[in-house]
């Protein structure tokens, strides 16, 4: 199975395309055939447009034949989480609210991928409006984990991680507001990168919590993640929070840096609730870095215990504001039961949103409401400052932090029905979003039961090249990436 085209990394496929051993149409057909063979079980896709993908691939082959290949993504099929706009294609956010919505324009990342010659392939399932950690909150039904079809793929970008793990795309994009790239990457055994806030444009991304959201790649290898990041990063005048930072050659930089690095182990990330097998795998990864000559230093992020509460105040507040636009008037679901214009708002939102989205809108509206704003929202923003300072203080002593990505491996569908229990899945990932930092998850082993485990590396602002280099050193010394799920 490892010889199958759909399990090969971008870098390897690039060589095959370059020498014309394989065409983009052949590669795209292989991915489509694989998707048709397995997606009835994995259910990673909300929709795909086969004819459109083949047409893009054919155009790529024409460019290559004319000597106009555009780089490492030329002709590579890439899947996008269904919160990222692709002009003329459906965009649902896995919500009934947008069940019939068609994107009027391309997101900046979509335009950049197209400009890099990639074949845009399908829209991937997620928790509704990216709210969740298991992809069970999708209005169109859950995606499952290719390593064990009775378990969740993580979330909210669970379609993006599951499709990649199952060979239904060569790489994918997701979005990460509190861990929604890194946690599903960990649970599905692939690489997932959440860039520094502002490195990647959010233009054309359906907003969840605007001060936390970032788009980032899922990939089979660290090198592939570097290729993807380079394609999508960079300043965009259409996103006023986009940062004017240089975009380095991440692929070359990731190979050039070899360490040794000073690595911090935040003691607060190894407490109660951490699965023993996850802990053991992460400890082995730490031992590996130590053996490589890295200085391993215990550090403290003293406000870690407040991350979850801070996150759920800020994220729901921003979500309640962002989701006010879904009013049934201009686009999206409009109730047929409404008596008058104002009633359209109440009933369209009641019919269009699922339970988790409603819960978060209510919580977010409450914490912003008159009399509660100072006690909740303003206080959370102040604690956010302290959380960010914790990280910056740690970076005076270390180059990056090593932690588990998720406290637990993939859990059973329906296992975490209590919202608070599910929120606790994000405890190692949300601090990164609050502080705006880059972080990635790289596979670091399997449980005895065969479930993937992820190692999280958290870096300094805009130090993605360094993070990729650290992850690559670990990845190249292990062969976790060569294992693929065997679908029954």
């Amino acid at each position: 199975m490892a010889d199958e085209l759909f399990f090969k990394p971008i870098a390897e496929l690039g060589a095959l395309l370059e020498t014309k051993a394989v065409s983009s149409v052949e590669l795209t057909r292989a991915v489509i055939a694989r998707t048709k063979a397995v997606d009835g079980r994995v259910r990673a896709f909300n929709s795909y447009d086969e004819a459109d993908a083949i047409a893009q691939a054919a155009a790529s082959d024409v460019r290559r034949a004319a000597g106009q290949a555009r780089g490492p993504l030329e002709g590579i099929p890439i899947g996008l989480k269904d919160v990222i706009s692709v002009a003329g294609q459906p965009l649902t956010a896995s919500s009934k609210m947008l069940a019939n919505f068609v994107s009027p324009y391309d997101a900046t990342v979509t335009a950049k991928l197209k400009g890099a010659g990639a074949v845009i392939w399908g829209r991937l399932n997620c928790d509704e409006f990216a709210m969740g950690s298991s992809t069970e909150n999708s209005a169109f039904g859950p995606t499952v984990n290719p390593w064990d079809l009775t378990r969740v793929p993580g979330g909210s970008s669970g379609g993006s991680s599951a499709a990649l793990a199952a060979g239904e795309a060569i790489a994918t994009l997701g979005s990460d507001t509190g861990g929604s790239i890194r946690q599903p990457a960990a649970l599905c055994g692939v690489v997932g990168l959440k860039p520094t806030y502002g490195l990647v444009s959010r233009y054309g991304l359906i907003a969840f919590a605007s001060s936390l959201d970032q788009i980032g790649p899922f990939a089979r290898t660290v090198e592939d993640a570097a290729i993807m990041l380079e394609a999508i990063a960079g300043h965009d005048p259409l996103d006023s929070t986009s940062f004017k930072a240089d975009v380095p050659d991440y692929r070359a930089e990731a190979k050039r840096h070899q360490g040794p690095w000073r690595l911090g182990i935040p003691k607060e990330y190894f407490g109660a609730g951490l699965d023993p097998e996850v802990n053991a795998a992460v400890e082995r990864a730490i031992a590996f870095y130590r053996a490589q000559g890295c200085e391993i230093k215990e550090v403290s992020l003293p406000h870690t215990q407040y991350c979850l509460d801070t996150y759920y105040i800020i994220a729901t507040a921003e979500a309640s504001s962002n989701l006010a636009r879904y009013d049934g008037i201009r686009y999206g679901h409009r109730s047929k039961e409404a008596k008058d214009a104002v009633d359209i708002y109440f009933k369209s939102r009641a019919e269009g949103f699922g339970p988790e989205v409603k819960r978060r809108i209510i919580l977010g509206t409450y914490v912003l409401s008159s009399g509660y704003y100072d006690a909740f929202y303003l206080r959370a923003q102040k604690v956010r400052t302290l959380i960010r300072q914790d990280f910056l203080n740690a970076y005076r002593e270390v180059d990056a932090l090593l932690t588990p990505t998720s406290p637990v491996p993939a859990f059973k569908l329906g296992e975490k029905s209590d919202p608070l229990a599910l929120y606790l899945c994000d405890i190692y990932t949300i601090g990164v979003n609050l502080a705006g930092l880059p972080a990635l998850s790289v596979p670091c082993g399997f449980t005895a039961g065969g479930l993937p485990i992820g190692l999280q590396l958290i870096g300094q602002p805009f130090a993605e090249a360094n993070l990729l280099a650290m992850a690559r050193v670990y990845e190249q010394a292990h062969d976790w990436r060569l294992k693929h799920p065997v679908l029954p």
Binding site: N100, R330, R334, V342, I344, L363, G436
Partner: protein, 98 residues
Amino acid sequence: MTMSSAPDLNIDHVAKLARLALTAEEKARFSQQLGDVLHHIEQLGKVDVTGVEPTAHAFPITNVWADDIARPGLTVETALRNAPAQRDNMIVVPKVVE
């Protein structure tokens, strides 16, 4: 108001602010679940935030200006493509003024 006071979530009031019609069953369930979450959130009241500036964005960027140059926008047809109801290049809504 201090964070240690028991959270009192008036779900009818908040649902009205959010323009969200909830069923009686949803009100009961959300009240209980959000009560749990708010109880958890109360611990933020223990943090000393005296003199701490709030963070709205991790990397404060202010006064971002765009050049005042006209660019092509969406066509009327594209802009109306997702409208639930339209007529004569306009979105149709129920009568709002008597």
